[in-house]
């Protein structure tokens, strides 16, 4: 799984049948410093994340297991919010002081 920041929303009404009602968001993967890592991608969103949120997501086939219907062609899914992540004693997200 990776850290990511939701940067936009995608509207696609004509889609694979099993994906009705699943929101799609643009997601920028982040490294442990919170800097952009690689290209942005589109992910299914199973938590109510919106643009600007720090999240963690899974890619590959397992992403489909997070969707309401699991037999769907999905290779990225946002699993949850990240209040705070720290690595090499660097903090990302909401630090103790509550700054984003």
């Amino acid at each position: 799984m990776y850290l990511g920041r939701v940067i936009g929303r995608v509207v696609a009404t004509q889609r694979y049948a099993g994906l009705t009602g699943v929101p799609l968001h643009w997601l920028q993967p982040l490294d442990e410093h919170g800097a952009d890592m690689g290209d942005a991608l589109v992910a299914c969103t199973v938590v109510s994340a919106g643009p600007g949120d720090l999240v963690h997501f899974v890619d590959g086939r397992e992403a489909a297991l997070a969707c309401p219907e699991t037999f769907v062609p999905v290779d990225a899914a946002i699993l949850g919010f990240v209040e705070q992540a720290h690595a090499n004693d660097k903090f990302i997200g909401r630090t103790a002081a509550g700054a984003r």
Binding site: I7, A12, Q14, A43, R61, P73, V74, D75
Partner: protein
Amino acid sequence: MLIGKVVGSVVATRKDEKLANQKLLVVQVHDHSNKPKDQYVVAVDSVGAGHEDMVLYATGSSARQTTQTENRPCDAVIMAVVDSWDLGGANVYEKWS
């Protein structure tokens, strides 16, 4: 998933029989600010995407998770036709404009 524009199609009568009667479309990858990249993918169409449609496609084993591509040698499937997207509230692409 990644976004791309359907720029062509592939006709291959002699191919693996498991790929028989699948619509193969050539998709040029676009980035999130709708800039076309010099990267193309041949993807199986599962939603009826047409020429010059902006589409969303899944790659890897996830591409085999449709009734149409199950147990077939396919690693890219078009699973949605994009109507619009925005980045931080600013519309980047609109199909109807």
